[in-house]
């Protein structure tokens, strides 16, 4: 079977785009929460912020599988999660005035260190690629 879905470079680009979409959806989700009077299907779909959340997550849902084509799920997720947290922390501070505490900064430092370990480590091919 021909694999019509391309390459490692595209997967990495899709991983970066996915992180951006997650941060944006968190911002939009908070706006949706602040403006939602009642949690119901009609209430949520009538809220433009929530519709924007769905659009972002829908795009993310299309892009993310392309990232997973060549990147192991555990590695892709371990990269995307801390980067998303960093983005959410900055957005929460800038858009909603939520403070960045010393504990936040310490947590971020640990996550950055973890990312460095993760990304600088020689990769062990997953079992699926050995078969």
């Amino acid at each position: 079977m021909v694999d019509a879905v391309p390459s490692k470079l595209l997967s990495r680009a899709c991983l970066a785009l996915s992180v951006g979409l997650l941060v944006l959806s968190a911002y939009l989700g908070k706006q949706a929460a602040l403006t939602t009077e009642q949690v119901s299907v009609s209430g949520l779909l009538g809220n433009p912020w929530y519709v924007a959340v769905l659009f972002c997550l829908g795009t993310h849902a299309l892009v993310w599988p392309l990232a997973l084509r060549t990147i192991p799920l555990s590695i892709a997720y371990a990269i995307a999660n801390p980067l998303s947290l960093l983005g959410i922390l900055v957005v929460a501070n800038r858009a909603f005035g939520e403070p960045i505490t010393g504990w936040n900064a310490a947590g971020l430092a640990l996550m950055v260190a973890g990312l460095w370990f993760l990304l600088s480590a020689p990769r062990r091919p997953p079992a699926e690629e050995n078969t």
Partner: protein, 112 residues
């Protein structure tokens, strides 16, 4: 859902997203004849459904939980995804990668 703790709802959303990710990977890793064929696989659609459910749960939780506090559940979600990947996809991390993962999880304490 008013009787439920917002934190419990956020946890359920995180678990739903983790299972959804597993389904997405199961669908994405197989060779595809076209991009559309990949997106229409049952496992892919099941993954989408789980992620959609997680957004509804998280939106409810955001009403009372600060945006950055709910971000605690992303690393919890990461741990679930790594465990599911190890069990169902046979993905294995090197020792150095495990150290990196442990640091990332420890870093979440700053957000709690």
């Amino acid at each position: 859902m008013s009787a439920l703790s917002p934190l419990a709802v956020a946890f359920a959303g995180s678990a739903s997203a983790a299972v959804g990710q597993l389904f997405l990977k199961l669908a994405a890793r197989r060779p595809a004849t076209s991009v559309a064929a990949m997106y229409l696989r049952p496992a892919m659609l099941a993954g989408y459904a789980m992620i959609l459910l997680s957004t509804v749960l998280n939106t409810w939780a955001y009403r009372t939980v600060p945006a950055k506090a709910i971000a605690v559940f992303l690393p919890l979600n990461l741990l679930m995804v790594v465990l599911l990947s190890a069990v169902f996809l046979r993905e294995r991390l090197t020792g150095r990668q495990c150290v990196g993962l442990a640091l990332i999880l420890a870093g979440t304490a700053g957000f709690a």
